[in-house]
């Protein structure tokens, strides 16, 4: 189901934008190098001490909010969700038993057009790493010791502790939706290690992280003055045949501000499994 779905969106976007769409099979924009329309982004903003300062509001490049605004704002990257969706719905990971059987069942169910249960539809926090899809947008607030990233979706915030060198001992680590994140700088790259994500946080087709020992390694870096990339690697030798790699790309949007989104206000048409009903 995933591939046809992505294909459908790519085709729709291609139809919408006419010939010459430059999107690779994995959703990565190809073709001419990006040139910026919105002027200089946060770079060369720097924190005291010289590290990059990404404080501000970012949206998935060409993603949901930009789909309604026509072109993405970056030449060579179309408006629409073609760029965002492959990130939200990446290639299935290679998993070990018994997880691969569970994943296979879910993929087959989805291919039959069956709706999968969804904790997100029940308004649970998105959790890591899926929250980094940042489907509406992400507010970054930085101090030298804390990088806070808030998702407009569900108003969920994660904090990356820059002043810690290690995670708490396993018997003191409390599983949470965002997990426990520690970060350090390698030049202008922010490297983050996250552990302690709740085992019931879904990350792929409703599958949960099988247990709390998965490490989520992220490398945040800018590829242009107003483009931030989060390269994500999931590492868990008990679960994955090989580390599962994906990337999220964000576009700096100083013209927008984060808004509150409280899902429980009027969640009127989902059943107890998070499936839609009418």
């Amino acid at each position: 189901m995933a591939a046809p779905c992505v294909t459908r969106i790519l085709v729709a976007t291609a139809l919408a934008l006419g010939a010459g769409l430059a999107i690779g099979a994995d959703g990565t924009p190809t073709g001419p190098p990006m040139t910026l329309k919105h002027g200089p982004g946060p770079s060369p903003a720097r924190l005291p001490g010289g590290r990059p300062n990404w404080t501000g509001f970012w949206v998935p490049l060409g993603g949901l909010l930009e789909a309604y605004r026509g072109p993405s704002g970056v030449e060579g990257v179309p408006g629409g969700i073609a760029v965002n969706i492959p990130h939200a719905d990446p290639t299935a990971p290679e998993m070990k038993s018994p997880y691969k059987e569970e994943l296979s069942r879910m993929l087959q169910s989805s291919a039959r057009g069956e709706e999968l249960s969804s904790k997100e539809a029940l308004c649970f926090p998105p959790g890591m790493p899926k929250m980094m899809v940042m489907v509406y947008g992400m507010e970054v607030l930085q101090t030298p010791n804390i990088v806070a990233m808030s998702s407009e979706w569900q108003s969920a915030t994660r904090r990356i502790w820059m002043d810690l060198k290690a995670h708490p001992p396993e018997d003191e680590l409390e599983d949470t939706y965002a997990g426990h994140s520690i970060g350090h700088w390698e030049g202008d790259v922010l490297v983050v290690d996250t552990v302690g994500v709740r085992p019931d946080v879904s990350y792929f087709y409703g599958m949960s992280l099988p247990h709390g020992k998965t490490h989520v390694i992220e490398r945040f870096h800018q590829t242009a003055a107003d483009v931030l990339v989060d390269d994500v690697t999931l590492i868990d030798g008990d679960v994955f045949v090989k580390p599962w790699v994906k990337a999220y790309t964000y576009h700096y949007r100083p013209d927008l501000r984060i808004q509150e989104y409280e899902c429980l206000d009027n969640n009127r048409n989902v059943d107890e499994q998070g499936k839609s009903k009418f």
Binding site: C5, L64, L65, A67, Y68, V133, Y261, S276, F278
Partner: protein, 126 residues
């Protein structure tokens, strides 16, 4: 070009909303995104709420009797950035809407666009 683009992208978005996080919330599987119908009626209620806005519309059936339709829209944070406001439509307003109807035939659907009595589209590109 842009409104056409929006329609195509929106159709793909809604048809796939169940598997990604494009909807950010729940699947739109209850709606038949291969079909579009036009309804004209009088606004009974407009709920400017998360996770979705809802428009309750009183529509006359073929026999002239009023029937209530319940139409699901996107969330205030998206609609607001399209130019919608919480009072863009009010009870008593006569409006025309384009919707993806429910699969089960119940009187409801996913709102694609809304035009007021003066022919103005709310939100520009919807």
């Amino acid at each position: 070009m842009r409104s056409k683009s929006f329609g195509w992208i929106m159709a793909a978005l809604l048809s796939c909303a169940g598997v990604g996080t494009a909807s950010a919330h729940h699947s739109f599987a209850a709606f038949d995104t291969t079909r579009q119908i036009t309804l004209t009626g009088v606004v009974k209620e407009f709920q400017w709420t998360n996770p979705h806005c809802w428009l309750h519309l009183s529509v006359a059936n073929g026999e002239g009797q009023a029937e209530e339709w319940q139409l699901e829209a996107l969330s205030p944070n998206v609609l607001g950035r399209l130019g919608w406001k919480k009072n863009s439509v009010k009870p008593g307003d006569k409006v025309t809407v384009l919707v993806n109807p429910t699969r089960d035939g119940s009187r409801g659907g996913a709102l694609i666009s809304l035009t007021d009595a003066n022919g103005n589209k709310i939100g520009g590109r919807t």
